[in-house]
Symmetry: C2
Subunit: 825 residues, 2 copies
């Protein structure tokens, strides 16, 4: 950020004079004109001739309501930036505020710099207007295509979470975050005000929330507009803010008077922020108190400056101004005249020169270069992104002499590596969790950092690992974790989000939007790649012992694989070393959503770290040591597995088959990278058919033990030659409270059932091993009965280790059963 000055300048010597206010007003009018033009006009952009029917778009789509307010705020903040040299990111929270962002970016010149065919002249303006809400053009809300935006305005509720994510570790940045009073009703937005307890006044930037109280949604008033100023003030104070109220534009208020009042209020607010920042810089970190950050309640008429009434119905200042106030302007001559009058009310001739370019004196309102909000590099995070300095994960690998001999909690091992990642990257890597960071066993990170907590401290004996500035962000809201991380990544940093597998569905829709953002930006040349969004889903479906049914759902993977193959990756590392190799890859990657599902319970380590690297690079592979193939012969059956628990059950089944069906040629395949199963034509990681056939065979029975819902494996492989031979065991919604082994039995994915499956599927075994089939079935009953009596698993099941490992297991980290203490929460 060498090109912009350090921020938090003192108040400029003079109040803005009338000339400046006139320029602000001209900018506002120009932005409003360009906004109305985008919604309505196909041609005649400067109204150089009378408005004709064919100048108006045939379909009028888009939204006017919030736009003039956004334009007003943008104009004033532009003036303030010019005064103060304050790097600022503008976040447009209100739905369908797109015309405003586009209009202001065009006025600032950025739009034409990035989209060279949208020139600063009449022809460019015509293009600017046409593309809006037009086939193949741009949508009616802020979007990846919008310069200066990190925020997709389609789905509401995440403006403040994104804003705070952007502010973390950017101490010089002001995030001017406009919150719509409609989106303020959403749950995620309602809790995101509390982000101010997680921001450090010295080491982080500042979020200035502006509640755009225009009073109406699509068809209803907004709640916050109808609770009275007393309650609204209390609410904002309760959220930890000092509210500054601005009401303007009502009862025919003179625009210049409104500008003067708002300019003064904005200066007060920015001065107050500067004071807080200055004080924070002078205060030792330990003594920092959470300031009462200012926020602005900006109450202006919905659709401000549009016709006050249309057909005798109040329009400006009502929900009728939400979308297209003159929907039949093309077909109704009276409405066409009203539209022309409305457009001409902005006096475009005064604002744009003969060529159609914004007049110099108005353009001079904007600051230079990257201080223009539409040109800030903070909104194009890839420009600022630095590679992480990653320690060699091999040094953190678990020693394995014989597969399965060592027992480790995979996420705990990962935590040790993450500790070093944090140590080496103290300002651009954060970890987010909804109160589950320690539960997911990543505590090693606390050796070098803490959980950032800028609310009250009361008792050092319990306020452990809380710090005023730290790398771990914990609030009990998956929405906040996701939103903060998105904001952090989109402004050029790195991070991960660890959560319980079942409850990550809470952010399904946020994931969808972020994946779409990444997909869209892949096609936008000026958007530079950002770091991937990395999930670490632990406390997974197979170990919800006492939590029961509500905590059992592996379906997030299914949601993820619905998105475009070029932006999503799903990994199921079977042990600690493969988890390390996987996560190293994830933290190096760009423009993906990486979903990693890994257990936190003690689990055998099968592969050395070098073998893990090879296996993860391959994505899936045959584990020759686990199978009983004879080189030169075809296998009789393939046991495939994906996920830590399915892998263990598959190995235990392979062990049983070795002992009870001598001579059976079993191939064991483990899948880490789920996308390898898909067709190479569908996913870049997909195996070719030849590779798939070579590995899985085209005609042998494949018993596939899978972590999630079984049909996903069918979906990924239905085009494969051997698909009709693939029999999948996975999760089947049979939840209750369980022991670990009870859980796999409940879903027929346990070792005994897998052996039964093999006998059922291999023709040469079917009649000859009926006795073994029955003994396996009896074992299940015995195991079930034992759990019902003692509450724990049958020792021979719980203590099972891979046979080669049993000989040498001396360094086991602990028993496979955890005899005490909960798995989760």
């Amino acid at each position: 950020m060498s090109t912009v000055p350090t921020a938090w300048r003192p108040r400029p010597s003079a109040e803005p004079d009338e000339a400046v206010l006139n320029t602000v007003d001209a900018w506002w009018r120009a932005a409003n004109y360009l906004s109305v033009g985008q919604i309505y006009l196909l041609d005649n952009p400067l109204l150089r001739r009378p408005l004709m029917r064919d100048d108006i778009k045939r379909r009028l789509l888009g939204h006017w309501g919030t736009t003039p307010g956004l334009n007003f705020l943008y104009a004033h903040m532009t003036r303030a930036i010019k005064d103060r040299g304050q790097p600022t990111l503008f976040v447009t929270g209100p739905g369908h505020g797109g015309p405003a962002n586009v209009a202001n970016a065009y006025l600032e010149g950025t739009y034409s710099e990035l989209y060279s065919d949208v020139t600063e002249d009449e022809e460019g303006m015509r293009r600017l207007f046409k593309q809006f809400s037009f086939p193949g053009g741009i949508p009616s809300h802020a979007a990846p295509e919008t310069p200066g935006s990190i925020h997709e305005g389609g789905e509401l509720g995440y403006a403040l979470s994104h804003a705070y994510g952007a502010a973390f570790d950017n101490p010089d940045l002001l995030v001017f975050a406009v919150v719509g009073d409609g989106e303020a009703e959403t749950g995620p937005l309602a809790t995101s005000w509390h982000s101010n307890k997680f921001v450090n006044p010295a080491q982080d930037g500042v979020v200035l929330p502006v509640l755009h109280l225009n009073g109406y949604k699509i068809a209803n008033p907004t709640v916050l507009d109808r609770i009275g100023e007393e309650e609204l003030t209390a609410l904002m104070r309760g959220y930890g803010h000092e509210p500054y109220f601005f009401t303007g534009g009502f009862d025919g208020e003179d625009h210049l008077a409104a500008h003067a009042r708002f300019a003064a209020l904005l200066d007060d607010v920015l001065d107050r922020i500067a004071e807080i920042k200055e004080q924070a810089a002078r205060t030792p970190q330990d003594e920092l108190e959470r300031p009462r950050w200012p926020m602005i309640v900006f109450r202006t008429p919905k659709g401000w400056t549009c016709p006050p009434e249309i057909d005798g119905q109040k329009t400006e200042g009502s929900w009728r101004a939400h979308q297209v106030p003159l929907a039949s302007a093309r077909d109704t001559p009276e409405h066409q005249a009203v539209l022309e009058g409305w457009l001409r009310s902005y006096d475009a001739g005064e604002l744009f020169d003969d060529a159609g370019r914004l007049r110099e004196d108005i353009a001079a309102l904007a600051p230079e270069g990257e201080l223009r909000m539409s040109a800030t590099p903070y909104a194009n995070g890839g420009l600022l992104l630095k590679d992480l300095r990653l320690p060699d994960f091999r040094e953190f690998g678990v020693q394995v002499r014989v597969p399965g001999e060592t027992i480790k909690e995979p996420t705990r091992v990962l935590g040790e590596w993450l500790r070093e990642v944090v140590r080496r990257n103290p300002t651009n890597f954060r970890l987010f969790a909804p109160d589950e960071f320690a539960s997911n066993r990543l505590q090693a990170v606390f050796d070098v950092t803490g959980k950032q907590w800028d609310a009250e401290y009361v008792d050092p004996s319990v306020d452990q690992n809380l710090v005023r500035a730290g790398r771990v962000m914990e609030m009990l809201s998956e929405h906040q974790c996701q939103g903060w991380l998105e904001g952090y990544l989109l402004t050029g940093r790195h991070g991960l989000f660890t959560s319980y597998e079942a409850f990550i569905h809470i952010v399904d829709s946020m994931f969808n939007q972020h994946a779409k953002w990444l997909d869209a930006t892949n096609d936008i040349a000026w958007r530079r790649p950002v770091a991937s969004l990395n999930y670490l889903l632990s406390s997974h479906v197979w170990r919800q012992d006492h939590n029961g049914f509500s905590h059992q759902d592996p379906g997030f993977i299914d949601v993820v694989v619905n998105k475009k193959a070029n932006v999503i990756r799903v990994y199921l590392p079977p042990d600690a070393n493969t988890l390390l190799a996987t996560y190293d890859h994830c933290l190096r990657s760009r423009q993906y959503v990486n979903v990693v599902v890994a257990g936190k319970q003690p689990n055998p380590v099968y592969l050395t770290v070098d073998e893990a690297v090879a296996h993860c690079t391959r994505g899936l592979g045959i584990w020759e040591w686990a199978g009983s193939e004879v080189e030169g012969s075809e296998p009789d059956v393939v046991l495939a597995c994906a996920g830590d628990i399915p892998t263990m059950e598959t190995l235990a089944a392979a062990d049983l088959l070795r002992r009870h069906v001598p001579g059976l040629k079993v191939r064991v395949i483990n899948v880490v990278d789920l996308m390898r199963l898909q067709d190479a034509r569908e996913h870049p990681h997909g195996l070719t058919d030849a590779e798939f056939d070579l590995t899985f065979t085209t005609d042998k029975p494949v018993i596939f033990a899978y972590h999630g819902y079984p049909w996903l494996i069918h979906r990924l492989t239905y085009r494969r030659h051997g698909h009709s031979n693939i029999h999948v065991r996975g999760f089947k919604e049979e939840g209750t409270t369980t022991t670990p082994f009870d859980m796999v039995m409940l879903n027929d994915l346990d070792r005994f059932h897998l052996v039964m499956d093999v006998i059922d599927r291999v023709p040469s075994l079917k009649s000859r091993y009926a006795g073994l089939h029955q003994r396996m079935s009896d074992k299940r009953l015995e195991a079930r009965e034992y759990t019902r009596q003692y509450g724990v698993d049958l020792p021979e099941v719980a203590d099972w280790v891979w046979p080669d490992a049993g000989q040498t297991a001396t360094e086991a980290a602990g028993p496979m059963r955890d005899s005490t203490g909960g798995d989760n929460e």
Copy 2:
């Protein structure tokens, strides 16, 4: 509710005396004892002998932290109910508060009434303890198995939404809703406080929120505990409440003193509520003002009454008390001794008689019968459920003489029927929407009711259709709509939730939990069936013209079909009449989640209402009128479709094939009930293989035009004989701003591409119709080009009607194109 007296009694004459307070304390101790017992004890439930190692469970799973606070509240509310005769529903918001609900239900006798093997004696207590967090037992949070609960405590955030849903239209009901300070950080909970703007003080019940401020989550302090009392007071006032603060149990406060203070506070609060109710009853509906409803901030130590310190570390009053404070009690003699001392501190011998039954004098604290909170019928809604009085939907059907002749907006037609449903069911049917009710074109309902709005009114000219008590509930929060509706249904009423298809993903996780609740209750004999949760998803993926990529996602169906077949249904009615028939079925059904996806744009009506009934009853069927089969011959190709837009494109393709490939025998199949595709062994609606083969053939190419992601059709049919011949066209994540036809072209699902598919797949056509193939391809280019120039679709595409209809179309409701005005928002 004839068995319970009418509520809102005046304050009883005297304050509770010391004897009553002693009984409250005894009840509390008994509940605490039973809670600790559930967590730790396998045997020796009454400690009739010294605690032995094998009396302790081998795996200690569960949570103590929130439980003593819940028990305290339950005991006090029990006393107040007895005094006042107030029907009350207790909602347990805090996570893992299950032991408390179970303990109190056992003390009230309800547990033994419902689970006859858990008797009120030592043996029953042993069973009660063992089953908790035990394989095949009950989970550690309130669950379907829990008497008196409508609220699954596993996923946090919905306590208040459920509570308000229960209160709507139950004017005599008090919902005592305990909110955990952990869950209070979630988004859905944070916005659900605003529900008080949507509750009517005369016609609805009362929610009394109790913020259980015990200060800690799993491993962190809670935000609301660390913002100071001033901000917390402001926050609650900002949410529209009058907070009553209670702080008790700190610094060794005498328990009786705490009981006396809380009893007095609770009486004040209940008196205040009674005053509000009384005043509301006296006030004309139009003059009702929103009262400032009381709420209680209940600050007590986390894990209250557990050992203050364990191993020298502060435990009571810290996050260390969250789960199992003595995790190694079984294996560490010192901890075993601490546990025994803790258990004995409650003096079980004073609380239970020799047989192990609660002593009479303590049991007398509880009210009789259904006034016991664990026995309230409000928590077993099926007991209260009355069938809806449904008008005959046939009378609302669209007249159709020739398929496709009439053009109607399906949801608008549905709205007319819903208006009559509302008229006939004025107190037990509500409609929920996140500010999208009118956008989804259900306005006819406003003829007979309005949107319930108990916040401020300002301007009659814009506050249209707002009423203080009405059937339509609109807040811009999908979480609130879903949570309210769940609470409404689970207390025995009916409703629907209409939303945009893409954004329904916001409640994926809530849907998951509700589907699991239904599935679990199917196996609980005492739970009576409740009305289905009905979605009406309009503004679907194919008509997001200007909204673009962010609004395009049909994946909710994929989330839904992951749940158990016995609780989910998915319907894709292709026109207005099939939508009517489908929704009539949905509103009559029980114990399902019904997902109905239906467009709101003008769309041909293909079937008469009688044909629609037959078609919907069948679930899928051959549309002989649309195909060109010859009876007695096999078809050459099958065109299948599901969803309104795919149906229209398929019919248009069938029309093209008739005209351009004479003699081709085309079978057209329309699918309304998606589950018909699945195997009869997997879903009760599934076709048998014989039926499927008869309809789809086993060897003919099937071109399947589907509303959602194409792989779902493969997943549902992969076991079918003809599966390898099924070629699916669906949504492919290729979003941008579009016209309607542009959108289908983008995904190769348009009529021209379907014709190309047919030529590609039918061997006899492949070489002979290369020219037609090319003309179809050229048509696509022409259509694309037209949209890019004019922003609307090629007239021959937009104005296409089914050929038979073109002759007679005189009553069309409007053009297929909507030349103005937005599809959405």
